[in-house]
């Protein structure tokens, strides 16, 4: 995919459904050789029972004929539950000074596109938004109507507050701990480790957790010069610094922070991918999906 859809062009088309379809169609026709999964279980082979296998998987008829325990294996699992978790804290309102979108808008459209991709492949898609207000949870279901529900929910979203502490979202976390894929779309900026706690708790043996970290060009390149007063979007805390003088220190701090973040996420087997909110939607998504397909997600 050489031609990505320009962010500015997408910004002019504020129709989320149209944007998500446009972005996702490219993958469905190109990169992601989509294959519609069947509803039932397709038999693959038998293998000998091993301790730890669920007794329900034992083929009792074959046991009756052979007097041995065999476990029936399917070639593919059933449809996957894809949980899209969108960070709606106030820090997501950040965008580059020269940019078109902020992270929140970018994240909403990214979520819509991912949801479309998932439902197009027959997966069940659910949505959880976590920010300053009450969490919004749409249970995972399959189908186009579900996608529209998600679209409406995303359209009504507003950013504000901080990411909730895990004590306040225990029920939502429990839902995500089941089998399926959990994709967190967030800037991963946290004040007291609330996002880390969330990921740590969500990640279980039964699911796969991936994070799409959103960042903008200003965060990556630090183009500021002269006296600058940096003000935190969530806490309001401000720091005065000289732009040019602070650049090297900032980049060093950012690198340390990223390294530590990767280390901790890898402990919990949580994938981390970075998407720039100043790049076209399909560009970031393409890289993310391509790495997932190749199993390169860290």
């Amino acid at each position: 995919m050489e031609q990505f859809i320009d962010l500015r062009a997408l910004a002019r088309v504020r129709d989320m459904e149209l944007v998500a379809r446009s972005v996702a169609t490219g993958f469905l026709h190109g990169v992601q050789a989509s294959e519609q999964r069947g509803v039932g279980i397709e038999f693959s082979q038998y293998r000998a029972y091993e301790p730890g296998d669920a007794p329900s998987r034992i083929d009792w008829k074959l046991y009756a004929r052979s007097d041995r325990y065999f476990v029936r294996e399917a070639e593919r699992e059933s449809e996957t539950s894809v949980w899209l978790v969108l960070d709606t804290s106030r820090s997501m309102m950040l965008g580059s000074e020269q940019g078109v979108w902020n992270k929140f808008d970018y994240g909403r459209y990214l979520t819509a596109t991912l949801a479309y991709l998932a439902q197009s492949q027959g997966d069940r898609v659910g949505l959880l938004t976590l920010g300053g207000g009450a969490p919004t949870l749409i249970p995972a279901l399959a189908g186009t109507r579900q996608w529209h529900r998600i679209l409406h929910s995303l359209d009504d979203l507003t950013a504000g507050g901080a990411f909730p502490a895990h004590e306040n979202i225990g029920a939502e976390i429990a839902r995500l701990q089941g089998p399926g894929l959990v994709i967190l779309i967030s800037d991963l900026h946290q004040e007291r480790g609330e996002i880390s706690d969330f990921l740590r708790l969500v990640s279980t043996q039964h699911n796969e957790v991936a994070t799409l970290r959103l960042e903008c060009n200003d965060e990556r390149d630090f183009p500021f010069e002269g006296p600058v007063r940096f003000e935190d979007l969530e806490t309001g805390e401000s720091v005065l610094a000289n732009g040019r003088a602070a650049r090297a220190k900032y980049l060093s701090s950012r690198e340390q922070w990223l390294t530590e973040l990767k280390r901790r996420l890898s402990q919990w087997e949580v994938g981390l991918d970075t998407v720039c909110s100043d790049e076209p939607l399909d560009a970031g998504l393409h890289a993310f999906l391509e790495r997932r397909r190749r199993g390169l997600v860290a």
């Binding site: 940096f230 979007l233 220190k249 701090s253």
Partner: protein, 435 residues
């Protein structure tokens, strides 16, 4: 800006642009640009170099930028250097009294490329036709303006009468570039001397009962001397008797060049050529005829106030007398007549303590000084005469008027240099701060 002028003074309004970098500097120093971030923790570490430190580093840069704007404003205002007309070769200036005393022959002997008269328009002495007797120090103003307006490439020599020693204190500002040749009346011209000390030495003698008048005269002289910037050395002596045998030795004790003023003494001034006698005498009697060393050729007469008929009849002069001063009732107090080319000033009142005494008049100090210095009306015109160096040079046919020299090319060069330095400095600061 001595020697500099602005051809477009409105261009200085561009100096208002100085407010811009100042405002930016002060504003940014206090607040800094606001940038929203998502994770403030990443920005705490770079805080080591505070904004204040960076601002301090940029103060010299700010000054450089202000200087740059000032130069730009001067460029817009069309700063130019005033070009003074110049006179090459030696120049000699001759005071009118010197010319009157020495004559054209004396001026012809002056060794200079040009000999100009110190009167308005500075004509060559050949073209200066008036030879009437003149004295005073008013040509000092002319000389000062001439020296300020014209760039003399060669030497400047001033020829004046050494007797005309009424030099104002400001005359010392002429500097060492001016050579003075002071002649004594009747002596050979060209005898170079040091510039005389500007002073007026006055000795006042009075009868015991006329001390009040003496004090009044002294005070008036002091006041007049201050106004005219003349250094005054004045002494007041009480003389018991007016007899000539007594007063003459006393008068002789005064400095040789002193002006002697006798009040109420029956002085035989025949023996004292430098005495002004102000005394009460019988009506119709000429009390004093005097000559002052500083005013050769001038004769002063003091008479009582009953000479009104003779004023109208012109008794004392060939020409009708001119009333220089009248009392409030119209009675002449001081008249001037001309007799055989000399001036005769007659004081027609007595010095007394009456209500309408001239001593109480505000004009009396100046009048008294004029009486002593012999200033005339046409000499007073020096002070009010407009002096246009271009006009005077044009009249004297020496050199044409020179336009001002614009400095725009130099300012543009300086501007470019400052811009280059400013850029280099700014980049250097940026490089240092980013390390």
């Amino acid at each position: 800006m001595n020697g500099l002028t602005l051809l477009n003074a409105w261009g200085l309004l561009a100096l208002a642009a100085l407010l811009l970098p100042l405002a930016i500097h002060l504003f940014s120093r206090s607040r800094g640009r606001r940038v929203l971030v998502g994770n403030i923790a990443l920005y705490r570490q770079p805080r080591r170099q505070r904004v204040f430190e960076a601002r301090v580093q940029q103060w010299p840069l700010l000054l450089l930028r202000l200087l740059l704007l000032i130069v730009a404003a001067l460029w817009v205002a069309e700063l130019a250097r005033e070009q003074r007309p110049s006179l090459a070769g030696t120049t000699a200036y001759v005071t009118p009294d010197w010319l009157a005393a020495q004559g054209r022959e004396g001026a012809a002997n002056i060794d200079a490329d040009r000999v100009l008269a110190l009167i308005p328009s500075f004509p060559p002495v050949d073209a200066y036709v008036s030879t009437s007797s003149a004295s005073g120090s008013d040509w000092y103003g002319l000389l000062a303006e001439r020296l300020a307006a014209v760039d003399h490439k060669g030497g400047v020599t001033v020829y004046a009468l050494g007797a005309a020693d009424q030099f104002p204190a400001s005359a010392t500002g002429f500097g060492a570039g001016v050579r003075w040749v002071l002649a004594t009346p009747g002596a050979e011209p060209g005898a170079e001397k040091e510039k005389p000390n500007p002073s007026l030495v006055v000795s006042v003698y009075h009868e015991p009962g006329r001390k009040t008048d003496a004090v009044s005269i002294t005070t008036a002289l002091a006041l007049a001397a201050e106004q005219r910037q003349v250094r005054l050395d004045i002494a007041m002596t009480e003389v018991a008797s007016g007899d000539a045998d007594v007063t003459t030795p006393i008068f002789d004790q005064a400095p040789a060049d002193a002006m002697r003023v006798a009040i109420g003494l029956g002085v035989n001034v025949d023996h004292l050529s430098a005495t002004v006698a102000l005394e009460d005498v019988a009506p119709g009697t000429i009390a004093t005829t005097l000559q002052l060393p500083s005013l050769p050729g001038h004769r002063f007469e003091v008479r009582p106030a009953v000479q009104q008929p003779s004023v109208d009849a012109g008794v004392m002069g060939d020409a009708p007398p001119q009333v220089l001063w009248r009392a409030d009732n119209g009675q002449p107090l001081l008249i001037e007549t001309s007799v055989a080319g000399g001036r005769h000033l007659r004081y027609l009142d007595r010095l007394s303590e009456v209500a309408d005494s001239p001593l109480r008049s505000e004009a009396f100090p100046e009048l008294l000084l004029r009486l002593l210095l012999g200033e005339t009306a046409w000499q007073q015109g020096y002070a009010q005469a407009p002096v246009d160096p271009t006009l005077t040079l044009s009249n004297s046919g020496r050199s044409p008027a020179v336009p001002n020299q614009p400095l725009a090319p130099w300012l543009a060069l300086l501007l470019a240099l400052l811009v280059a330095v400013e850029r280099w400095w700014a980049e250097r600061l940026s490089a240092e701060s980013s390390q």
